[in-house]
Symmetry: C2
Amino acid sequence: MTKEKAVRLLDAATGRKPCDLVIRNTKIVNVYTQEIQQGDLFIDNGLVVGIGGGRKAEKEFDAHGAYLVPGFIDGHCHIESSHLTPTAFSDLVVPYGTTSVIADPHEICNVCGNAAMEYMLKSGRNATLSIFYMYPSCVPATPFEHAGCILDAKEIEKFIGDDSVLGLGEMMNYPGVVNADSMVMDKLETAYKRKKNIDGHAPGVTASDLDGYIGVGISTDHECADADELRERTRRGMYVMLRQGTACKNVLDLVKGVDDGNYKRVLFCTDDRQPETIVKHGHLNHGVNLAIGAGLDPVRAITMASLNAAECYGLADRGAIAPGKRADFFLTGGLTHIKAEKVFIGGRLVAEGGNILSPSVPVAAEGVEGRMCVKDFSKERLKLRLKSDHVRIIDIIPGQVVTKAGEAHVKRDAEGAWVHDKDQDILKLAVVERHNGLGNVAVALIRGYGMEHGAVATSIAHDSHNIIVIGDNDDDMAAAVENLIGLGGGITMVMDGKVLDNHRLEVAGLMTGDGAMEVCRTLERMHETAYEKLKVSNNVDPFMTLCFMALPVIPEYKLTDIGLFDVTKFDFVDINLD
Amino acid sequence: MTKEKAVRLLDAATGRKPCDLVIRNTKIVNVYTQEIQQGDLFIDNGLVVGIGGGRKAEKEFDAHGAYLVPGFIDGHCHIESSHLTPTAFSDLVVPYGTTSVIADPHEICNVCGNAAMEYMLKSGRNATLSIFYMYPSCVPATPFEHAGCILDAKEIEKFIGDDSVLGLGEMMNYPGVVNADSMVMDKLETAYKRKKNIDGHAPGVTASDLDGYIGVGISTDHECADADELRERTRRGMYVMLRQGTACKNVLDLVKGVDDGNYKRVLFCTDDRQPETIVKHGHLNHGVNLAIGAGLDPVRAITMASLNAAECYGLADRGAIAPGKRADFFLTGGLTHIKAEKVFIGGRLVAEGGNILSPSVPVAAEGVEGRMCVKDFSKERLKLRLKSDHVRIIDIIPGQVVTKAGEAHVKRDAEGAWVHDKDQDILKLAVVERHNGLGNVAVALIRGYGMEHGAVATSIAHDSHNIIVIGDNDDDMAAAVENLIGLGGGITMVMDGKVLDNHRLEVAGLMTGDGAMEVCRTLERMHETAYEKLKVSNNVDPFMTLCFMALPVIPEYKLTDIGLFDVTKFDFVDINLD
């Protein structure tokens, strides 16, 4: 609030001046009292003024008895997972009733560091959606890979004071917290000093460790797996998020644990949600509707998706339809299945019938373009010489990002180098460092992808986002890498030296300013090509699976730009078994 | 939280080092989930570590199955009403389970301005109790009287950034807010700029005015009178306080409006609670027990008295018994009637069986001593010359601070000056400016006090706290004023030139460093004298009634140092009717 705004609000509230807008004949969901209030809602200068009161308004809008619901607040998301820049993301999700998000730009910051923070903040300011950020706490995710930068406490300091930065992002390094690792504690301290939030990420953390993790001020968890974990966390005062992402879907498991006593500590989030999932199922509303379908009271579900998130993150200006709050809300015909028919942000109608009315103006991708700084790469770097035919191998588990530590006997050429065996579903996987021209190329073998011939390469490779490429032959793999470098990042498919299709992600190799519809069309077409031409296994997502094969915090075997990594042992292993 | 504390907490939580203390065999009230958890609570370095977990502790304490309740937080109080300095107040209220208070030092700031803020903050830091302050928003309360100072936005700026100052105190000037008075808006702005709270005071404010009042960020109200007003406020997101003071008692009326939907927006407060009331009925626990007695679920009542208050004021470090929170709690044998048997603050046993274990160390009353700067006062100044015998008169309504605008025909001497008529219960009332030596003395007449002979004077006279004196003759009145000046403030009674008794309030004429028991003994003795020797009417409190006769915001007639004031007309009136 400012003095100027306050004076104007008082003039509007008391009827000294007419309000900008009245929404007549509506049923307002009151998240403070869990009631439905019928009436006319007056709005002025982007803020809610009040209900009724015999005021006048410049503009009238008839809701024809529809419900008015506070705009949804996504408690935790990675915008990068949508493949869209913040402004394009905004245009995609606002029509579903999401009016604010708390985003952790962990992916782009792994690539571009604080230049990424600058860009995300700038782009966020241009978005219709209110975008708040949590500064990524774990860049790089591990010391066993090369990201674009190292974001230590000193780097965090530069941004954590920003008004749009609500605190420190998900503290994935929970062993580091529990063991009071000094570098981790330095990062926490940056938040302590400014009384900012710290987000958690605590899969399976329990009992005494959980006491410590929460005790040091980590106040949310979106990695909660079941009702018992939810109860264990809310009892300790932690906010638990019901997550409905593309790969991780916890709403139906977790909602079983929500009750009269603890619901004020529960909110919703999307975490990682692919553009196709959003276009098909919606955004935060998807999780909310699933919870309502499972028996959660709709007004309670709405409260969790709005007020609770606002309270969790100290956003005093939103989260409810009440005097002085931002006029962020949407109309829905019913509450048993919430569908944002008309979305208002700051009192302005911004989306209708699922469409944004005027797209956000993109900002220049300064400091985050391309970022394909690859050195000393050539086809020869992909050659995999083996000591024997008995090797360690990454075994894909269909539909999961977890892999199995496998073994295999493979085919070799005269020089002892691996060659593709048509009778085995084993392919070559390589990670090519792309951030600082270190010249690192690591090669391993992977089973279960199904591809018969060709190569797929992408610059989305959690969390360091080096280039990851899979293929049956070095020529196509090298061509895919070279093509991807030329594109400035994205996803590409090559067969017999020919590029089959591209998805260009010109912003840090992770995001595009193209609209969601175009992205979805491209991805749909590319999926078809991957399955039909490359013959990728039908129970594997050709791109998402690939994206997670370089993530050395998810068991068991993963490949970083340094080499084959055994997550269970938390160390590198030799590919050769004999 | 700090890095150092966090590391120590992690060592304690994980069992790497033993905890300071364990409270065994207790039933912990969980205000996050509304459950009771049985177990052993571990505490280290003043913070809660967790329940159970097989940890070790240096000290053991057996609760023998008693309930462990989070320390109560008084949402709004004026410490001055206890007649005690903050350290003495702390010693009095902590044994009742109050571990934090949000205090508005409105009274002492009316006398000493920012010197009072300095003193209160300093004294608060020495107290066992956690004392937070709201900077008084309305000093002076009106322009129709002379307080010790004028605290405008510029003065507020000097303190509102302080960590112990949570925001702006009760905005009593609600017409000023609703009318967007520029000086008032400047004051609100000081809080906006630092995202601090603003407390309300909105008796009878409703509908559109209430929208405006809340819309500009005023987030609490402790003047709510009934369940309907409570609902009207909570619906708008305002926090409503269930107040149980000495004169104003709203708990039983308001608790009727508390329900499943709105209880998270309700807390408890004491506002103005006299020392005798505290000694007789307790502190915040009194209101909580009344609410439980009226049917409120005990765990919910406890949640309102702890977590809700902490959330309302953004006190993230307290309000619940959970990892990382301050170890502020107390043991009670039962929950149907809560009685703090042992009180812990910062993990230290500080009170037992209703007694503080080690008193807080008082601080020197620098800049707030005495403050009896009276100029040109003499008996002659009390003479009341009237144009006729027909006059305006203040009519006391027994048991209320509201008065009636009365008329009377009175007795005059040869010079036309008022003289006491034994057949009429009419006395002389005078207000003597005491802050800046302005030399103001205003005189009026008052009916219903009952006193037959003598004078009572006090330096507690809301809100400006000039000297107020009542009597049947100028000699005793003048002697009482002179004696009070000599005392440095307090309450005094004089008859036939002789001082009958004194209650010395050496700090700003409002508070004493003496213990509560001594204050209560003095006040009890003085009440007896007032009723038995001075013959004050039994249905009037001789001192409290007098204290409110100079408060020009409570209808109908009041007397300030400038003259007789008609609150309904909001202007001065002539005492003469003919």
